[in-house]
Symmetry: C2
Subunit: 143 residues, 2 copies
DNA sequence: CGCGAAATGTAGCCTTGGCTACAAATTTCG
DNA sequence: CGAAATTTGTAGCCAAGGCTACATTTCGCG
């Protein structure tokens, strides 16, 4: 999100981009999780964990493939490309930072995890940096 | 749509609910802002400020009316109902808290405002409470 | 090996939020 | 007052993401 000029914001950039990016990140993150756990991510498992019907997951994976983030062969597992892995790592790092930040300001761990999933997609790079700096300055002094 | 069961893990009925509520909150907030500034909220102004075409705003307002959050007569301004005002106040209070929290952890003010708009819709009540507690414990020791 | 179960793919529809184009009402102003 | 400009409403289309139903492929197992 780098549209700082309100007069430039097309409606397109609002809800659309917002939700679009978040969805993409969710899928990449989930595929990475499943790959770590099972060695591959199956459509059915992706769908189940994200709480959607399998055709929905199929569509999303097709989009990931279109964008060069994942690869898969028919009736086989889904795998992330290098770009996909990179995005996944970035997303997970950001997730960890957001959770850590929430915990640092007193949000209970389980709640931090839940809210972070919604929040993380809206944390800009610079804000993330600020979070990291704050956490570093705290140095884990929080109990 | 009563999939509000948290024990269902991350399989909440995701994107739909998420974006839907955020949009509604954005409109209510904007109408409240305009009402405070001009005494009423005109469709054209709502649309302009939210960066959408006016028919998009018209549709959204129709939805607010359907949900009992706003009222309006043809070719006239839009006004919030009591329920709408209540929601607006709640949304604005949350917005202020989120911005304050971001600033408290070192996010620059303008960036805090921008990111807060995306983040606030995903901050649960309990997390908001935690934010308030943290801010209180800080007691304005900043700047 | 063959067959049923499970997994995946495909088709087609729904809803939502966005847009453009055009119609109608209101406001402004000569 | 009346015409032009502005505002609002309405119609109709699009894309995205969700779902169900049904087709096809793979897998598990007798």
């Amino acid at each position: 999100m780098s549209e700082t000029d309100p007069s430039q914001i097309k409606g397109f950039n609002r809800a659309r981009e917002r939700a679009s990016r978040a969805l993409l990140e969710d899928y990449v993150e989930m595929i990475a999780d499943l790959a770590a756990e099972f060695g591959e991510a199956r459509i059915t498992e992706i769908a189940a964990r994200l709480g959607v019907a399998h055709p929905t997951a199929t569509k999303a994976v097709a989009r990931l493939k279109r964008e060069g983030l994942a690869v898969s062969r028919p009736y086989r597992g889904v795998f992330l490309t290098e770009a996909g892995e990179a995005l996944a790592e970035q997303v997970r790092a950001r997730h960890r930072t957001v959770v850590a930040l929430l915990r640092a300001v007193g949000v209970p761990e389980d709640l931090a995890e839940l809210d972070a999933e919604g929040i993380e997609h809206h944390v800009s790079t610079r804000t993330l940096k600020a979070f990291e700096a704050f956490l570093a300055s705290q140095g884990g002094k929080t109990g």
